[in-house]
C-alpha cells in the first residue's frame, strides 16, 4: 500500500540552499490587519481573541455591523467590528469563518474587496444526522476550492479547520495545543498564513499541501467530532517528527 514516506525528498545539498529553503523561516506578519468574515460566530470570536491577544490588529465582520461592533467590544483587546464588505476592504488578510451555508453567496459579493489579498478559508462542509457528522463534497472539491473559484483575483489558502472554538474562547486556557495545517498553491501566501497561525499561543502553522488536497482536511472535522464525543474532549492535532 501507499505510505506517507513515498515522496520524502532529499535534504538540500549546500548551506545556502538550506537557508533559502528552510521551511521554518516565515515572514514577519505582525503589521498585517486581519479581517474575519463571520467573525461573530464562536470560531471567529475565538480567533479574534487569540490573534488580538498576540498583538495583531483584528476586524471582525458580520452582515450586521452593529452586531459586529458589540461582539468586538465584548472581546476587547482593540478588536474592531464592521460589516463584511468594510472588513474585507480594510484588512490585509481575510479569514473566512462563515457557516458553509451561505459561503458561496457571501464570497461572490466580495470579489472586488478581496482582490489581491490573502484569503484564508477555514470552512468545513459537513452534514449532521442521528449518527453524527459526515463530509459534504462541494462541487468544486472543497470549500477552499470553491472560494478560489469565486475569488480569482485573490490569493486563496485554507487553514484553521481543526481548532476548538471552545478552547480558543476559554480565557483560562493559555496555550492552544495544536498544529495548524495551511494549504495553498502559492508559497508566499502559505508562508504568511503559517506565520499568522504560529502567533496563536502554543500553536504552530505547518504547510499541509496543495488546494486540491483541502477536502480531506476540511472533512476530518467529522472525525474530530467523533473523537470529542467518545472522549469528552476538545481534540487538536499535532504533527510529529516536524
Amino acid at each position: 500500500m501507499t505510505t506517507p514516506d513515498e515522496a520524502a525528498g532529499t535534504r538540500p545539498s549546500t548551506p545556502a540552499e538550506a537557508t533559502r529553503n528552510d521551511p521554518h523561516r516565515l515572514p514577519d506578519v505582525s503589521g498585517l490587519v486581519v479581517g474575519i468574515l463571520g467573525g461573530t460566530g464562536p470560531q471567529g470570536r475565538g480567533l479574534a481573541y487569540r490573534l488580538a491577544g498576540a498583538g495583531q490588529q483584528v476586524i471582525i465582520g458580520s452582515r450586521d455591523a452593529a452586531r459586529a461592533a458589540s461582539t468586538a467590544a465584548a472581546i476587547g483587546a482593540d478588536v474592531r467590528g464592521a460589516d463584511n464588505a468594510t472588513t474585507a476592504r480594510e484588512s490585509d488578510l481575510v479569514i473566512v469563518a462563515t457557516p458553509w451555508e451561505g459561503h458561496a453567496e457571501l464570497l461572490a459579493t466580495l470579489r472586488a474587496e478581496l482582490a489581491g489579498k490573502i484569503v484564508v478559508d477555514c470552512v468545513n462542509p459537513l452534514g449532521f444526522d442521528k449518527k453524527g457528522a459526515y463530509a459534504l463534497t462541494p462541487e468544486e472539491g472543497s470549500a477552499a476550492q470553491q472560494a478560489a473559484a469565486l475569488l480569482p483575483d485573490s490569493r486563496v489558502t485554507a487553514a484553521f479547520h481543526h481548532l476548538s472554538a471552545v478552547t480558543l474562547e476559554d480565557r483560562q486556557i493559555e496555550k492552544i495545543d495544536t498544529d495548524i495545517l495551511v494549504l495553498g498553491d502559492e508559497r508566499a501566501a502559505t508562508d504568511t498564513v503559517q506565520a499568522l497561525a504560529s502567533r496563536l499561543p502554543g500553536a504552530r502553522g505547518l504547510y499541509g499541501g496543495r488546494m486540491r488536497n483541502a477536502h480531506q482536511v476540511e472533512s476530518l472535522v467529522a472525525n474530530l467530532i467523533s473523537v470529542n464525543r467518545r472522549y469528552k474532549a476538545h481534540a487538536g492535532l499535532r504533527i510529529t517528527d516536524v
Copy 2:
C-alpha cells in the same frame, strides 16, 4: 462555521456509567493471531516487525508463499509467512496492507476465509502526478467501505493509515510517536483494533469515527506526503486533549 466542538457530549453522570463507558478500557488482545495481507510490502513488514516485537503472533501473507516465508524469516521474531488465503484462514484478525491496485480483486477471493473475523483496512487510495499525491475516491466512498461491501460476513474496520513505513522498519527507533485512528461501526471491533494499535510501542489507538468517515482519513496521507516533502520528515499524528 462548524467547529469540532459541535457534538461534544456530556460526561457520564454516575461512577458506574463512567466505568462501563470508559473509552480507554480496551480488551486484552495479546492472544490474537494477526495476519497481514500484502505483508511483504514496507507497511506490512513494518507492522509485522512491531507487532511481533510486542509479543503478538503474526503471519504475513503474499500471493507468493515462498516470498512471504523469506520475508518473514528476515523480520525474525517468530513471524510466519504464507499465501494470502492461508494467512486469512489461520489468523484471528486480518490487516489489509495491499496496494490500492488489486485491493478489490484480492478481497473478493477471501470472503469465506475472512468470514466472522475482524478485518483492518489500512489502504490509502492515492494518485500521483508531477505535483505530488492526490486523493482518489473509490465508488464505495473509501477503500474501507469497499472492503466492507466485498466482505459482508466480516467485521471491517479501518486503521494504520498514517504510519511511516520507514519509521516502523527502522530498528534504531524504539517508539512510534503517533496516534492511530481506528474507524468502524461496531464498538467491540474498534475497541479490539485500538488495543492492537496500542501494542505498537509509543503508539496509541484512538476511536476515529464511523466507516462513512474513512475517506478523509485515508486521503489525509496525501497531505502527510506534502508535509514529509516540505520538512524532510516522516510525519505522524497526535490527537491532543485525549
